[in-house]
């Protein structure tokens, strides 16, 4: 049985107050009493839309929207990143794009998020996983589907997985996600 909560969830909302308690006279005694006043707190909504550029990483997002998973590689050493980088951190050279859509992959680490940032709260519980690809030196952060979040197990680590692509791209890294490998 799920653990029962004895605390009601609260938010910042409240009544609009007309008239703040304040001394009628501003004599020294009344002004001194203001040192004992509770603080006034107000809401300050804040919203902004950013124009975010993926810059040199843009081809990766174009690829996933076309159901291809790309990454980058140092052309000399062959050092390959699970998450693309425009330049190799060891040689400093510009990397080249390679296609890893069909590379065997497995779960390197994972968690089930039962709580989270405000933006992702409606999606809880969700599974975050770091995936490792055969012949690739670093990892890729993704969502793992097709596993039961209530049955988390260390056995998921090393589990073979394969990519799935959103039919309607959102141009986010979540346009690709992973599921247990079918074969």
């Amino acid at each position: 049985m799920a653990k029962l909560t004895n605390k009601r969830e609260e938010n910042l909302g409240g009544y609009i107050v007309h008239g703040i308690p304040f001394p009628i006279e501003t004599d020294p005694d009344s002004l001194a009493f203001l040192k004992k006043m509770a603080p006034i707190q107000i809401e300050q909504p804040y919203a902004i839309t950013y124009l975010h550029s993926y810059g040199q990483d843009s081809p990766w997002f174009a690829a996933v929207s076309n159901k291809k998973l790309l990454t980058t590689q140092d052309p000399e050493s062959g050092y390959t990143y699970g998450t693309p980088r425009g330049h190799d951190m060891y040689s400093g050279s510009e990397t080249v794009w390679i296609d890893i859509t069909d590379r065997p992959a497995k779960v390197h680490a994972f968690t089930v998020c039962h709580f989270g940032s405000e933006e992702f709260l409606p999606e809880t519980p969700f599974v975050l996983a770091l995936v490792q690809f055969e012949g690739v030196n670093t990892l890729f952060l993704t969502r793992l589907l097709g596993v039961d979040p209530d049955e988390a197990s260390l056995d998921w680590i090393e589990m073979p997985v394969e990519p799935r692509f959103l039919r309607n791209s959102k141009l986010k890294p979540t346009d690709v996600y992973f599921v247990p490998a079918s074969g």
């Binding site: 910042l12 951190m89 390197h108 998020c113 709580f115 405000e118 999606e123 975050l128 770091l130 988390a152």
Partner: protein, 454 residues
Amino acid sequence: MRPVYAVSGGVSKFAKARPDKTFQAIVKEAYDYAIADIGLDFPTFTSLVDGSVASYFSDHFSRQLMAAIMAQDYLGLIPKPSHRVEGGGATGGLNFQEAWKSIASGHMDICVSYGFETMSHVETWKGNEFIALASDASWDYPVGGFYSGYYAMMVTRHMKEFGTTVEQMAHVSVKNHINAYHNPYAQKRSRYTIEDIRNSPMVAWPLTRLDICVMSDGAAATILVSEEGLEKLEKAGANIPRPLVLVTGIGRGTDAMRMSDRPHADYDTFMRDYATEQERGSDETRAYYQKLWDHGTRYPGVHSFRAGRTAGNMAYQHAGISDPLEELDFVELHDAYTSSEIQTYEDLGLCRYGEGGPFAASGKAFMPGVDYGLDLEDDPVCPVNPSGGLIACGHPVGATGLMQAVFAIWQLQNSIEKHFQDSTLQLKDARRGAIHSHAGTGTYVTVSILEREE
């Protein structure tokens, strides 16, 4: 470099919310305490201090850019030199080291470092979002940005590779909460059991709410001086306790913002670039690591913090420490998660990589003379987070690393009872301690060594 003395510190009460004061006034609580503790009045100290370093993590929380100058202004420190330092969770540790540099370089004789954060201005889930924006906003945040999730992934790998258990992690939470029971500055002063930790709500498997630090409002300040600065303060009537506390070592390290970019280095690279002096010198330890690598361990992967190991090795070399477990009397480390305390035991060389779990449950990192209600195999050797750490004291980010410095100064001044009105957390004859401040998923890490002048 000149010797640097840490002569005083102050901490505001850390709390879930401090709507009673603005951030500047909360900083002033800590600042005034540090001045009063050496017996000076505000105008006298103001006339002597050469400048400051300020720290806070996020403009988002206060919705105020350049908040540091507002604190500088409120403290009456204008027009003296100052700058703001920011480096995620390590912001306070970086601040302390910048103040150290100001003194060691000869640029200042008396420097005050102050830091703060007021995280209560938004709901916890929005706070989590702000913090998660300290991960790659193209690649990490949009996948489900949540720091507890990132740390939970690290620990599932640690558990898989090394056999670390959730009960071992819970030992850290029990220890730090019960330590904080005796610390009046702590946000959470509760006695928990292993079962309490495991039965608290799951946040990111396997981390429960009691495996994770909380958001806080708070501030902390330290005063660092040169020999000349010490002379100036004392000439003005300051009462600086003897023996003095010296900052004898500083170290820093960094790592990639994206956890996924961390390398998976082979055995030879690990031994050459990252092993501690002690690890390199032990046949038995080299064989132990060879066996780990034969079973697939690679370094640092996502289970270890290369930045922490780099910072620790650098600070130890600076301070002349070769066996940290034996040569440090205590460590105040960045336990944002019980799991990261275990990972940090390993990074700081208190035990070997892979042995952090058993170390956590052994008793070696516990305080002597405190009843934890646990059956611990070993006696305390090097208490870790005697103050209660972030898990119990709270984590007002820009203040946290300085809070650790203040508690370390008080330990080494033998003045815990004076400040806590309780002597339980005073280590007998504490001579040398380390403070460790940590950002992101291990992106910036600082380690500073403080010791009592002999």
